[in-house]
């Protein structure tokens, strides 16, 4: 690992040069004020002075819809074929620390070593170099600094991390993939900064955090039966509209549905994001539903983020990005839920 610098005006030159060989995925303004990670054709499109994108980077590794295989079927004939695998190399530029952390968490779900590792996710992960971008001005809904191992400049699993300084960026080269990118493009980088410079800058940025929440012991508190069965979830669920925006924009939500699309004797099976906020998500044949009302569904979302994910994978399922606070039409606020639940215990 090494620390370097890149001038602001050289950054877009670097991105343009990378574009020749690799596909660049970066934040672009898809419509007015709608910032999304998208394939970029020229570095001019890349937005640098943003707080966060609407959808998180999971959108790249775990697509909103993904074709799983194709089939040809008649009653007594059946052919099933994998689709051509992703080839090429990718650079994901501009992921914020919260989204970087979310990729660490999604790795635990999709890229585990077992026999059921998700080949689609894994292929994209292996082929993507991640350039993270520290937040210079944390937003009004950001609370990453309240969570373990996170801060507005945390490098998490980035291959390269950029932190905005005065006139240039401090560059941390963190992995072999990162080393390779920097050594292949060494003319863009200079030696100027040290680890201490990063620490000083981090302190400066953290002092601008507006929202904090005390998450100490939240998992243990959520494990109490009284909390699980509390009337609180009923009250909380009364205002939920069940729109599921919180789960679609959540960087760690990974639920999906599987569907077929066919015409005549051929078709594809695909998956698409799904949400535990929907009534039919858990509805089984014979009308049995283990989460029949919003009470169970709202509780499930918070229990999964703050307790179940941690129990299973050893890390909290929330990265403090604040997207659900910002977009919830009825202000259902996870930071408020955390402090309310602490009161219950």
């Amino acid at each position: 690992m090494s620390t370097k610098a890149i001038d602001k005006n050289k950054l877009s030159e670097l991105l343009n040069s990378l574009l020749f060989k690799q596909t660049l995925i970066a934040p672009v303004e898809a419509e007015e004020d709608i910032l999304l990670f998208k394939n970029v054709e020229s570095a001019d499109q890349v937005v640098l002075d943003y707080q966060n994108t609407i959808t998180p980077v999971k959108d790249w590794f775990f697509s909103q819809t993904e074709e799983l295989f194709e089939f040809k079927n008649k009653i007594t004939e059946l052919e099933i074929n994998d689709l051509p695998a992703t080839d090429g190399e990718y650079i994901l530029f501009g992921a914020r620390p919260c989204d970087l952390k979310s990729v660490e968490l999604l790795d635990l779900v999709f890229d585990e070593d077992g026999e059921f590792s998700d080949s689609f996710y894994k292929e994209k992960r292996d082929r993507t170099t991640i350039i993270g971008l520290s937040c210079s001005e944390p937003g009004a809904y950001c609370f990453c600094n309240s969570l373990d191992g996170l801060s507005p400049t945390a490098t998490c699993n980035a291959d390269i991390m950029l932190t905005e300084m005065d006139g240039d960026y401090l560059v941390e080269v963190l992995t072999d993939k990162g080393e390779k990118l920097v050594s292949d493009n060494s003319s863009y980088f200079s030696d100027k900064y040290s680890e201490e410079d990063k620490e000083t800058r981090t302190e400066e940025i953290v002092s601008n955090m507006k929202l904090t929440v005390d998450v100490d012991d939240i998992e243990a508190i959520m494990q109490k039966e009284d909390v699980y069965l509390s009337d609180y979830w009923q009250e909380l669920s009364l205002k939920c509209l069940g729109c599921a925006v919180c789960t679609y924009i959540c960087p760690t939500c990974h639920c999906y549905d599987i569907r077929d699309y066919s015409r005549g004797n051929a078709g594809i099976r695909y998956r698409c994001w799904d949400s535990c906020m929907f009534n039919d998500f858990t509805e089984a044949a014979g009308d049995h539903n283990p989460r029949p009302t919003r009470r169970e569904r709202v509780r499930q979302r918070f229990m999964h983020k703050l307790r179940f994910f941690d129990e299973r994978y050893g890390d909290t399922g929330c990265v403090g990005c604040g997207r659900c606070l910002e977009k919830c039409p009825v202000n259902l606020d996870i930071t408020r839920v955390i402090s309310d639940v602490k009161e219950l215990a």
């Binding site: 079927n73 009653i75 099933i80 089984a284």
Partner: protein
């Protein structure tokens, strides 16, 4: 690219049997011989069955791996996919992936006396274990099978119930039906499974029980077993929720820190008691 875990493989239906009212048993063979040979399911495990263009469902494999030339699935027509499966005939194609999910602890059960308690189509998952036990008869002790269905017509696996299993050494079968029609010609017991269990009253010493059936039956059976003095580790059952991926990722069968499709469907009562479940459920 690593193996696509959501892709099923073509298989052929080699036999269809009418099992009981609305239930058929399908004998299925994977078209790839190597894959069929290596399938090697453990008792209680499931497979995902697909009809392309219709969908996929997680179904318990009702045949044991000791009969490895084929896989059997007993399926009730209760939804969009299973209705279509019921129209299939010998020679038709189906797609299959697996084996998936946890299995009955057949190794831990060796040397023990066993009680199988089932209702309706709930005998299907147990049948893989029952026939596995009978194919390895010397490894297991006395076997009691307590089984009930709505009516005599609703009993599954009649040939095994009335001919094959009773002829095996050290096996007692206790059959009951909720009620009968005039044309049923039933001279056996009428009544519910949990009541029959109480009458049979098996001694917990050295015994393991395995239960599968409708939720209401499971509830009363589990209560009865605990009243009889069975410890939680001696009480094994299965849980079932709506599933899609079958590999613990798509999220819908999540309860607490478990995914029923991956960590289940088989659980013992110790594990079930650790799950966060609303008391009223």
């Amino acid at each position: 690219m690593s193996k696509n875990p959501l892709r099923p493989y073509p298989a052929t239906i080699t036999e269809v049997r009418d099992e009981s009212v609305g239930i058929k048993t399908f004998k299925v063979v994977l078209d790839d011989e190597e894959m069929m040979k290596d399938f090697n399911q453990e008792p209680g495990q499931c497979a995902q069955l697909s009809i392309m263009g219709v969908g996929e469902a997680m179904i318990s494999i009702t045949s044991p791996r000791t009969r490895s030339e084929y896989l059997e699935f007993s399926i009730a027509a209760v939804g969009k996919l299973t209705d279509v499966i019921h129209e299939l005939e010998e020679g038709d194609k189906i797609a299959l992936r697996g084996p998936l999910g946890s299995s009955f602890p057949y190794q831990k059960m060796q040397g023990k006396d066993l009680v199988f308690i089932a209702g309706g189509i709930g005998l299907a998952p147990l049948r893989s274990l029952i026939n596995f036990v009978f194919d390895n008869r010397e490894d297991y002790g006395h076997v009691d099978i307590i089984y009930g269905a709505r009516s005599p017509k609703h009993l599954c696996f009649k040939e095994e119930l009335f001919e094959t299993w009773p002829s095996i050494d050290d096996v007692d079968l206790y059959l009951t039906v909720d009620g009968t029609d005039e044309d049923d010609n039933w001279d056996g017991r009428t009544g519910y499974v949990p009541d029959y269990l109480k009458d049979v009253d098996p001694d917990p010493e050295g015994r393991i029980t395995v239960t599968c059936g409708p939720p209401i039956m499971i509830k009363f059976v589990l209560e009865a077993l605990q009243d009889m003095g069975f410890e939680d580790e001696q009480i094994i059952t299965t849980l079932e929720l709506n599933m899609k991926c079958g590999i613990g990722k798509c999220g819908r069968c999540n309860i607490g820190n478990k995914y029923i499709c991956l960590d289940g469907p088989v659980f013992d009562l110790t594990e079930i008691k650790e799950l966060p479940i609303d008391k009223e459920l």
